[in-house]
């Protein structure tokens, strides 16, 4: 069996977004995919330069830091990566503002089916999902985004703001010490360290499990990297959106990443790269879980 067959053609594709019938549909724009990749890489850089400090009693934490070139280098890389994330947050906020300005129906921009903001219907759908999981309701039918994606966005955005602010306090303590009492650095240390746990738990035990590891998606889902998914995937994960798109065969294939249009299948190089990256990311996530569990033992 050729590797190429195992990965893409023979049997079931590794990438959940390539499984099932129908043409590919554009789901994410190039801007969103690039931004997500940058933030994901920065997350791992931040986690592996920062968490060995928090879990410094783990025997291999100094080894992780040494791999960055020592503690001063790791500290510098951590701050640079934090700057990248803060810049991405600013760019994304700007992007939302532009989209809001261009939106034809501004009232439906924040609470609306195409909105990424957490809204009241999400709590209803969460409750329905729990009832479905014990066999007491039908499965909720999601539109463009499920409550899980909106919740992840909400927690990640809020978490990054809090972590970023407390991180700035700890980055420039002398400057903040001109007008803030030293006690705020004690507070900032606790907030930074535990909010990181909150965010890392979201990424590793929720985002990874929900997006990549749950039974109908395992081992991974590459829609955020290739930007497209099969129509069958859309019907399974986002049935309301699939209904709104209607007959996929009717539209012409769009080479540009235009949302909801028919897309060409992802090129082979892209499939290889994203599957490899996805596997590495999952392994790194498992390593983070290992680090925190190991710390609980010492």
């Amino acid at each position: 069996v050729k590797v190429k067959d195992v990965w893409f053609n023979g049997g079931i594709a590794l990438d959940a977004a390539e499984r099932g019938g129908g043409p590919f549909i554009w789901r994410f724009t190039v801007f969103e995919r690039v931004l997500h990749t940058v933030v994901a890489v920065a997350f791992f850089v931040l986690a592996f330069t920062g968490l060995p400090l928090r879990f410094s009693c783990v025997a291999w934490a100094p080894t992780l830091i040494a791999m960055w070139g020592g503690a001063p280098a790791a500290g510098l890389i951590h701050r640079w990566a934090a700057g990248v994330v803060l810049a991405c947050m600013a760019i994304f906020t700007l992007y939302l503002a532009v989209r809001f300005a261009k939106a034809p129906d501004k009232r439906r921009f924040i609470p609306g089916p195409d909105s990424i903001f957490l809204q009241r219907s999400d709590f209803r759908e969460f409750w329905q999902m729990l009832k479905w999981s014990v066999g007491r309701a039908s499965k909720p039918r999601f539109g463009r985004y499920s409550y899980r994606q909106r919740f992840s966005y909400f927690v990640a955005f809020l978490g990054m703001m809090v972590i970023g602010l407390s991180g700035l306090l700890l980055w420039f303590p002398e400057w903040f010490g001109r007008f803030l009492p030293g006690y705020v650095f004690n507070v900032a240390t606790v907030i930074h360290s535990y909010n990181v746990m909150l965010l890392a738990a979201l990424i590793v035990t929720y985002h990874f499990v929900d997006v990549h590891l749950r039974p109908n998606k395992a081992p991974l889902d590459g829609v955020m990297f290739t930007g497209r998914a099969t129509f069958a995937y859309m019907q399974e994960e986002h049935p309301l959106l699939a209904e709104a798109i209607g007959d996929p065969a009717a539209g012409p294939v769009s080479a540009r990443a235009v949302r909801d249009r028919v897309a060409p299948p992802p090129p082979t190089w892209m499939r290889r790269v994203h599957v490899a990256l996805g596997m590495v990311a999952l392994a790194l996530g498992a390593l983070l879980v290992g680090l925190s569990l190991w710390d609980a033992l010492c």
């Binding site: 503690a71 066999g135 009492p181 907030i191 535990y194 035990t205 499990v209 929900d210």
Partner: protein, 331 residues
């Protein structure tokens, strides 16, 4: 058989054999003629101090060190006549014959320059944990002062030295721990230069051995975490508390007393203000009584992290279980 040439380089050249081997006067020689060596007949002072020392009173049947075990016999040379380093090497070689495990560790700065006897004494050698000083190694500490006078002056005044002196003299109760003397932090046989930043982590561990609570809060602070993963810049115990002038914070002489703390922070944080120095480097967010605010924050954050993580995992398990069940139900 001892040939005359053996004695040529000896300090005892020209001294009659029978001065050391009195029973050799008997002729024909008896079997035990060789063993008596009455050194004290000439070296009375050295002999009496030896009798007070550990090599005399702490005897087993055969392991005690008599004169010849260290000084050799027929080739004996006065220590003073050898070049200092050669003399040190000769005497160290004699010590290591019995104390092989006490050879200086690699990197010990004393290894090539200081002889065992310079710290341990020669004829009147006492145990390191001397019962006469209630087990405190103050004898060694006084020997350190011979070369490290400035450090010793500070040490004997500060919290460690003053208490060690009083405990050794029986004026202060020993308590659970005895006060630290030089070797408790500097390791007798693995002494490092203070400029060796890597060795400083070992110094911090020495502090933590006796001060575990401060050690634990230090290890959870940024300084402690960064140093443990290899930072050589972040502060260790002695960077704030000094090495040899350690006093309780309430003592105005302390380097971290209220009046001097900001200046101490400025050693590393050049722009530090008095507000900045209000940071609590040993705060313990788990100590409800002493840090109620931090404790409340810590508790809230911990509960949040645990509950949210459990919800994440529970959600994933429930949804995955149902997905598998539905898939099985399909033909």
């Amino acid at each position: 058989v001892v040939r005359p040439a053996t004695l040529d380089s000896s300090a005892h050249r020209g001294i009659a054999c029978v001065r050391c081997h009195p029973r050799a006067e008997q002729f024909p020689h008896v079997a035990e003629a060789g063993i008596a060596a009455p050194c004290e007949s000439c070296h009375a002072a050295a002999d009496s101090t030896w009798r007070a020392g550990v090599h005399h009173f702490a005897t087993g049947d055969s392991a005690r060190a008599r004169c010849v075990e260290c000084h050799g016999s027929h080739r004996i040379v006065p220590v003073a006549r050898l070049a200092p380093l050669a003399g040190a090497a000769t005497m160290n070689g004699a010590c290591v014959r019995c104390h092989a495990d006490m050879a200086p560790a690699p990197g010990d700065v004393h290894a090539d320059s200081v002889a065992c006897i310079q710290c341990h004494g020669a004829h009147g050698m006492r145990p390191v944990a001397d019962p006469a000083t209630h087990g405190l190694a103050v004898g060694i500490a006084r020997a350190c002062a011979a070369c490290h006078a400035a450090e010793a002056r500070e040490y004997w005044q500060d919290a460690h030295g003053a208490l060690a002196a009083r405990q050794a003299a029986g004026e202060a109760p020993l308590g659970r721990d005895t006060a630290a003397t030089c070797v408790d932090c500097h390791w007798g046989h693995a002494v490092r230069v203070p400029q060796d930043r890597r060795a400083h982590f070992a110094f911090a561990d020495a502090c933590i051995r006796c001060h575990p609570r401060y050690g634990a809060t230090f290890r959870e602070s940024y300084h402690g975490q960064a140093t443990r993963v290899g930072s050589e810049r972040a502060a260790l115990c002695a960077d704030c508390h000094t090495a040899h002038s350690v006093y309780p914070t309430a003592n105005p002489a302390s380097s971290v007393s209220a009046a001097r703390r900001t200046a101490m922070c400025r050693q590393c944080h050049a722009e530090a203000t008095a507000r900045f120095a209000g940071y609590l480097p040993h705060a313990d967010p788990r100590d409800r009584a002493r840090f109620p605010g931090l404790y409340a924050l810590w508790l809230a954050m911990t509960i949040l992290v645990v509950v949210v993580t459990l919800i994440y995992i529970g959600h994933a398990v429930l949804v995955s279980r149902r997905t598998v069940l539905e898939r099985r139900a399909q033909p």
